[in-house]
Amino acid sequence: MRQAETLSAGQIRLQAGTLYAALDRLTAEGLIDIDRQEVVDGRPRRYYRLTDDGAAALAAESKRLARNASTASRRLRAHRPATGLGTVAVAVG
């Protein structure tokens, strides 16, 4: 939860229930697995790791997002700001 908040610069505040639901779903899909487990103060603490399938899925998803971001950046660079206030293009028909 802390890491999600740090990595997203405070934009994502993950709730515990949401986190474990995601872990269950990813485990069921074989994308992550329990790496190791330790007992701290009588409570189990589990560490999860990406499986090979998970790493492949993450790479594919990362590539897809990068492609989308790249397309958006390209379109943004090609965008020419309007020359005056109130100038709009209206299509009729």
């Binding site: 939860m1 709730q15 639901a21 269950d24 779903r25 069921a28 697995d33 103060d41 589990r46």
Partner: protein, 335 residues
Amino acid sequence: MRTRLILAAYPKGARRAEIEDLLLMAAADGHAEPGARGVTNLLRHGLRARLGRAGSNGVVALAMIVSVIAGFLLASATSRLAWEAAPDLPDGARRAALGEVLAPGRPVQWSQDSSGDPFPVVDGQVRPRRLSGVVADTAETGDGSGYLTGVAQRLQAQGWRVSDTSLTGPTAGKTGAGPNDAQVLLARNAHLVLWIEDVRDLTERQGRLNIHVHRAEPPWISVLTFVAGLFGALLGWLLFGWGSRRTEHHRAATTAAGFAVVLAMVLLAPALSLGLIFLNVFTGDYLSKVPFWAALVPTSTFGGLAVAAGVAAGTALVIAALRRPGRSRQRPASA
């Protein structure tokens, strides 16, 4: 203590302690205990985790339907039992006093189902026990509209709420004796629902006053039934989740139990549909002609389907009980 109570929404097993550990770590980092949003999040995902089969939307849809049905069943059983403690139909002095309001100075021939069952099954239909009365034709009762207006005024003076008066004639009499003219009045107070029909056979030039008295549902039964329905829905969710988790990694058991559950749903569909219709009648202004759980009574018309549904649901539970909770490819993340 509060956190552990919230985490009880999750199925028994290591997951509860795992989340507790996470929350304690978060608290050590300076995060406050889960607020309303966090608690709701834990309850929602905890109840979802009870169903097992992470990632399946179908199991959630099925669990919701099972919950509604379980709520309906427990509400039905509670309502039926609660009626045993409801005030009985008027007798003796109370009955005579009612007769005096309806037909002052004239004898009312009262009759009541002799069985002690508050909901006897008559011709396959569950009917609430009622008190019936007949007043012989007189010049006054012959004037249907005028007479019932007087009855309505007397009832209102006694605290009754007259909900409806309607003309139900001329129609062909059930006996085929000829056309008749009839007017009906409905009234209710805190304890009783009254149905009065001033009927006049236009051919025979004779008439009578038919009276039916039912017990009105006391507010405490309505509240108890509603609460039982909510409790039943929760119980249904937990029971379904238990079975779903036990059969999760057994394909044959999942198929068999799933089939039995869906079959039970289909078999209960008529009872549930009729229940919703009856519920509308039951809680409306009209008298409680049929209790909302009527189609669940084994000796009623649809009772056989309800019994078969019970057998199917029982089979699903037995299949689940005979299975040990399965293991996934990975080590289980929750019990």
